[in-house]
């Protein structure tokens, strides 16, 4: 339902997103994983047409068959909320503290779909039920500060669903929440995607949440998509050195504790730090930090190579067919 | 200059103009400002007297310039004096908290409630009216303003992590105030000072108008206005000129302060 082909976003010399290519059918759930500077947020913004004006874009993007890669703001405004919607990280920041949450949720319905107040209210109540907010009719009249973090996030999700979008982009939806609450929100997003046959893009650095919520996974580093494949497969048997390093760096109670000599076990780390956008290496973005790199890595950008029918990584060391 | 907000640029230009003219008057005015020439009274604008002469034959331009100097001096001293005391009180209240903070804030409330005019009249009654008394009265009304905004800004800085770290390091409250609080509250204080400057100019004009400030022969826009009042139908321009000067000066400082506030807005300036 949405497809990106060789989509690039750059700010002068700094390339934020390089040749992003993906396609998503209705009801599919894609995870986008990466750390700071990976380009995952830029990817999410691109899917909403909310890339900053100062950026240069290239490549194609089709939403339900409509070419949107170079669409104007006016065209995007018709798409947003109706076809593509987004849920952000900080629920408190995204809700107007001076308006009741019901009014906030009803606004797009009345604006875009032209619903009367009574019908919008009924819709809002059913949406609140759908996202699991107890006592929905009473909650409509409450202000954001009267709700808990998890409830606010549910309100944001209800807001995003208000006009029945075909694609929901969730950018770090669980980061600001406690672990238990985060789990429930993640499950909610999966249920909504199934029941509404709605595509879901789950952007997060939380690998646990992503493994629960998604079927396919894309790993990003320095603006490149370095690995993609079925979520469970990528997490269990990663191909790309960065993915391997990232997974190994997670604290794991099974591998922690003290060794035979009594010394605490250290975590395996990826040496160095992510270079700033304008100083990324020209070839493979991960060169300079990779433990298995060869001379070609810094100079030549690796193409996506398929290890089997579903999993691919952009690495020179992978043998297998080119994408 | 591109990128700077318009109000900042316009304000800076106006302020520069006024301050420049005031400074210039220290060394040169077209004529002696207090030089009377009864025979040449109510003169029309000419090459000799660019804006004409007033009811006592004094050159209008020279008077305006001398008045600018007095106005700037009064405003500067009043804001510096009142500001220093107010900022010190605000920092003290914020650093010590507890009953000290309460006491300082209640004093500030009192200061706000006390009419500045009344204070000026009291001073005049005891010491006789003069420009010095105007300075003291205006300083007095500045103290609570600066105390309040300094305390509010400082309280915010005290909660920042790097101040907590300084406390954990064992720094004294005085050292923290000097090293961390003061530099970080400087911006809002400077903005407020610029705006208070505008207020001080107006206050000086008002006090002089009422005869509580600049005494003749000292020049003041306010005094010129007061003298021109009785002559409104004969020579209205004698009221318009000082009025315009007051307006330009106050507008300049207000815009400058506004512009400074815009560029120091932490949401725009934050480095990440």
């Amino acid at each position: 339902m949405i497809a990106l082909e060789d989509f690039c976003v750059s700010f002068g010399q700094a390339v934020a997103l390089r040749n992003a290519t993906l396609s998503l059918a209705r009801g599919a759930r894609l995870g986008v994983v990466g750390e700071s500077g990976s380009g995952k947020t830029m990817l999410g913004l691109s899917l909403m047409g909310m890339v900053p004006d100062a950026a240069r874009r290239s490549g194609t993007m089709t939403v339900d068959g409509v070419e949107m890669g170079s669409a104007s703001e006016a065209d995007w405004q018709k798409m947003r909320a109706r076809r593509v919607a987004m849920v952000f990280q900080e629920p408190m920041a995204a809700l107007n503290p001076l308006r009741r949450v019901g009014d906030t949720v009803m606004e797009p319905m009345r604006l875009h779909d032209g619903l009367s107040r009574a019908r919008a209210q009924a819709r809002a109540v059913s949406l609140f039920e759908e996202v699991g907010i107890p006592d929905p009719a009473a909650r409509l009249r409450q202000f954001p500060h009267e709700l808990s973090g998890g409830q606010r996030q549910r309100v944001l999700i209800a807001l995003a669903l208000a006009c029945n979008p075909a694609l929901l982009i969730a950018d770090e939806p669980t980061t600001a929440l406690d672990a238990n609450v985060a789990l429930r929100i993640t499950d909610l997003l999966v249920r909504l995607s199934r029941e509404r046959e709605m595509a879901l893009v789950f952007i997060s650095h939380d690998l646990g949440a992503v493994s629960r919520a998604t079927d396919t996974l894309v790993v990003m580093y320095g603006g490149d998509m370095v690995e993609q494949g079925p979520t469970a497969q990528v997490l269990a048997a990663p191909l790309h050195p960065y993915t391997k390093g990232l997974l190994a760096a997670r604290p794991d109670p099974a591998r922690s504790g003290r060794d035979a000599s009594g010394k605490r076990r250290r975590l395996p780390t990826i040496p160095g730090t992510v270079p700033p956008l304008h100083a990324l290496p020209a070839g493979c973005r991960f060169s300079g930090r990779c433990s298995v790199e060869i001379t070609a890595c810094a100079l030549q950008r690796p193409a996506l190579r398929w290890a089997d029918a579903t999993q691919a990584a952009a690495c020179h060391l992978l043998t297998g067919g080119d994408a | 200059m591109r990128g700077l907000p318009a109000n900042l640029v316009i304000g800076a230009v106006l302020v520069g103009l006024v301050v420049g003219i005031a400074a210039l008057s220290l060394v040169w005015t077209p004529h002696e400002a207090t030089q009377m020439n009864i025979r040449g009274k109510f003169g029309d604008p000419s090459a000799q007297h660019w804006l004409g002469t007033d009811q006592l034959g004094r050159d209008v331009v020279s008077q305006l310039m001398a008045a600018a100097r007095n106005s700037m001096t009064v405003a500067l001293i009043a804001v510096l004096l009142g500001g220093s005391i107010g900022v010190a009180l605000g920092l003290l209240a914020s650093a010590l908290g507890g009953w000290v903070e309460e006491a300082v804030m209640r004093l500030a409330d009192l200061g706000f409630a006390f009419p500045a005019l009344l204070f000026a009249i009291m001073l005049a009654a005891v010491f006789g009216p003069s420009l010095t008394n105007a300075v003291l009265a205006i300083s007095f009304i500045n103290i609570p303003v600066f105390a309040r905004i300094t305390r509010a800004s400082a309280n915010q800085i005290w909660t920042r992590d790097y101040v907590m770290a300084a406390r954990a390091a064992g720094m004294s409250r005085f050292a923290i105030t000097r090293d961390h609080i003061l530099p970080n509250v400087a911006a809002p204080i400077i903005v407020q000072a610029t705006i208070e400057f505008a207020v001080a100019i107006l206050a000086e004009a008002a006090l002089s108008y009422l005869g509580l400030g600049a005494q003749p022969p000292a020049s003041s826009w306010g005094r010129m206005l007061s003298e021109a009042q009785t002559l409104m139908f004969m020579a209205p321009e004698l009221a318009i000129y000082p009025g315009l000067c007051i307006m330009i000066a106050v507008l300049g400082f207000s815009l400058l302060g506004d512009g400074l506030r815009d560029i120091t807005d932490p949401r725009l300036v934050r480095e990440r």
Partner: protein, 261 residues
Amino acid sequence: MTAPVLLEVRGLTRRYRLPRRSLLRPGPVLTAVDNASFTIRAGETLGIVGESGSGKSTLARMVMAFEKPDAGQVLFQGQDPHALSHSALRQLRQGFQMVFQDPYGSLDPRRRVGWSIAEPLRAMGEAGTQARTAQALTQVGLSGQDAEKYPHEFSGGQRQRIAIARAIVTRPALLVADEAVSALDVSVQAQILNLLMDLQEDLGLGILFISHDLAVVAQVCDHLMVMQHGKTLESGAVTEILRGPSHDYTRSLLTAAGVTP
């Protein structure tokens, strides 16, 4: 011979009165920390795990003597910081230091990094700050020349290293890390955790490690305490709690962290 006790906390309690709901009755009392007790010896790491509202941050503030407890006692190397005068407390503070959560807020943006690191030394009027600053920087994996730079020139992980350098420059005995890695990316978090473990071994530090992430705590700590709504639900050796938690809440934290007991 067992290591000396650095920090002993007994029955620490802190209550807040919430704002009134009606004019007639006073507001309800919230017990932020309820009767917390623990001990940390030199070379040991104690983890405190809890979600928002658990009271762990309030506990940290009382240990650091930023807030006075309503009941109970804090003893650092046998002395109660809350009972000391201002100047005596400042002297005692050299022995226990803190690392904060937000790498972007914990350094004064207007000061060079070296100045911030040397602050604890200046507080006690010590000399030789430049050498000790450079030493602290190298200990955390940065270079002595970085002292001349400003915080905005560094990444989040590097700023956290600088914050750690500031915390160790006085050669403290105890380090309190309050969500010190929570704002960092996974790969950077691993580097900082390794650094903390290295420093503990090299300097013989005791560490009080506060986090909402049970997996992180299990990585660096020998003992842990689970807090919820101010109460201590369980406490004990990490290995035992992971094997068999005695509370459902702890079990739910484990599941959320992806660990099966």
